[in-house]
Amino acid sequence: MEQLYIDLENYLGIGTDSVPEVVRLAIAVLVLGTIFLLAPILTIWVERKVAARFQNRIGPNRTGPYGLLQSFADVLKLIGKEQIMPAHADRIPFLFAPLLMVVSVIMITAVIPLMPNYIGADLSIGALYFVAIGSLSTIAVVMAGWGSNNKYALLGAFRTVAQLISYEIPLVFSLLVPVLFAGTMSMVGITQAQADLDYWYIFLAPASFLIFLFSNLAEIGRTPFDLLEAESELVAGYQIEYSAMPWGMFMLSEFLHAFLIGPLVAVLFLGGWDGPFAEDVPVLGVVYLVIKSMAVYFLGMWMRATLPRFRIDQLMEFNWKFLVPLSIANLLIASFLWELFPEPAGGGLVDNFPRFIVMGGSSLFTLMVGLEFLRRKSVEDRERIARLIDEKNYPLATADQTGVAGD
């Protein structure tokens, strides 16, 4: 954000050194944080509208033009609600959890390059930073579940943690691929490397892109990965005892995190702010980043509106027996081919065409092989269950199907 306040001070016509460093940092932090915290107000509206269209509804349309003020109405309502503290709760973790949840998500925004020279903090370990900070949300979930002293909440929290830590593995393995291509963990460096190449890493490693996207969707716990709040089994998971604004903060962090997947995926695989003329007109960079982010966000909404929820055992098997081996295989293949086909001297699209075909093709091939295994396995499973139902003359809901057994 160095550039922001230098620009700002030039614009306002005050000397660069007239404001103490800490104040400048604080202003930059508040600007960045506020922008990203207000984004969900808009994206919640977008999401409700899009989900409504998927389900052949109209969505919010009463508050303001096109229902645009719906989120503001919701916020006002939440402010007027009573905060209820369960009588036997463990008070400090209970109160602390929503705060930590939001902090763990909002801190991610520090390493997202918004446009050339505009970034909160260009850390040399940026890619690792957002994974590490994101892992703090695990703690927030456990604190919420434990603090509530509610059996559903605790069970939900532990399931959530098991899910979060499991899906972190394919996430990091697929994250290693762009880091390896760029030779740096800095988010600015990864964007710059793609801008210099004139094409994006998604063409070289489409499988990594998809694995990264899926495991991120699982990390935020939205459908089809929303077991943490599986209403039919756990009522609302770890959030059950929360009301009013503390609950709102959990919602906020979920929507913010969902929105942040967009910029993260865009920076790592879609070139970030890279696009025509972005280096000359930096403002275009933000526009490109927002367009790419919303495209990724739309993929998430699409999945959310289309797919039913996983069962807990399916969720775990999908991760450990599909995504983890696939992401490891993908890393091994991508790094091997990167070594085998070094970048041609010319660079550019035409010279790199064979490289695209080989690297992108083998990445997709790996994915296809994995999916074929997955398909066979699931057909086998369904046939097995069907046989079981036939043989034992079970009523429809076996323990195997409801997924509640065994907790």
Binding site: L25, I79, D313
Partner: protein, 119 residues
């Protein structure tokens, strides 16, 4: 310099708490607060609560956590490997591949032993 960048993160970490705290405090000030025994009771679908929730969980969670821990430590080694990768060449690939395949063996063992099943 790196440390200057971290100063931003440090200030961010201090100020970030204000973002969630402000609406919660505002909510506290504006909203009514009239707790009663029924309202502050634990909600377990209307069934009266028996005992604390803080009971024993099953061993499966521990298994997932330990496998995750092993992979997490693997990441510690793989990130520097990935960063240095482009500059070294095939020997880096071999070293990394052996490292990863050895761990894959552990995953296969867990798979075979049924440690990955959610039972």
């Amino acid at each position: 310099m790196e440390l200057n960048q971290w100063a931003f993160v440090g200030v961010f970490f201090v100020l970030a708490w204000a973002f969630p705290l402000a609406p919660i405090v505002l909510n506290r000030l504006v909203a009514p607060s009239r707790p009663n025994k029924i309202k502050t009771d634990i909600y377990e679908c209307g069934v009266e609560t028996v005992g604390d929730a803080w009971g024993q969980m099953k061993v499966q969670y521990y298994l997932y956590a330990i496998i995750f821990l092993v992979f997490d430590i693997e990441m510690v080694f793989l990130f520097p490997w990935a960063v240095a990768y482009g500059a070294i060449g095939m020997s880096a690939y071999l070293a990394g591949a052996v490292f990863i395949l050895l761990l894959l063996e552990g995953l296969l063992y867990a798979w075979r032993k049924g440690a990955l099943e959610w039972t």
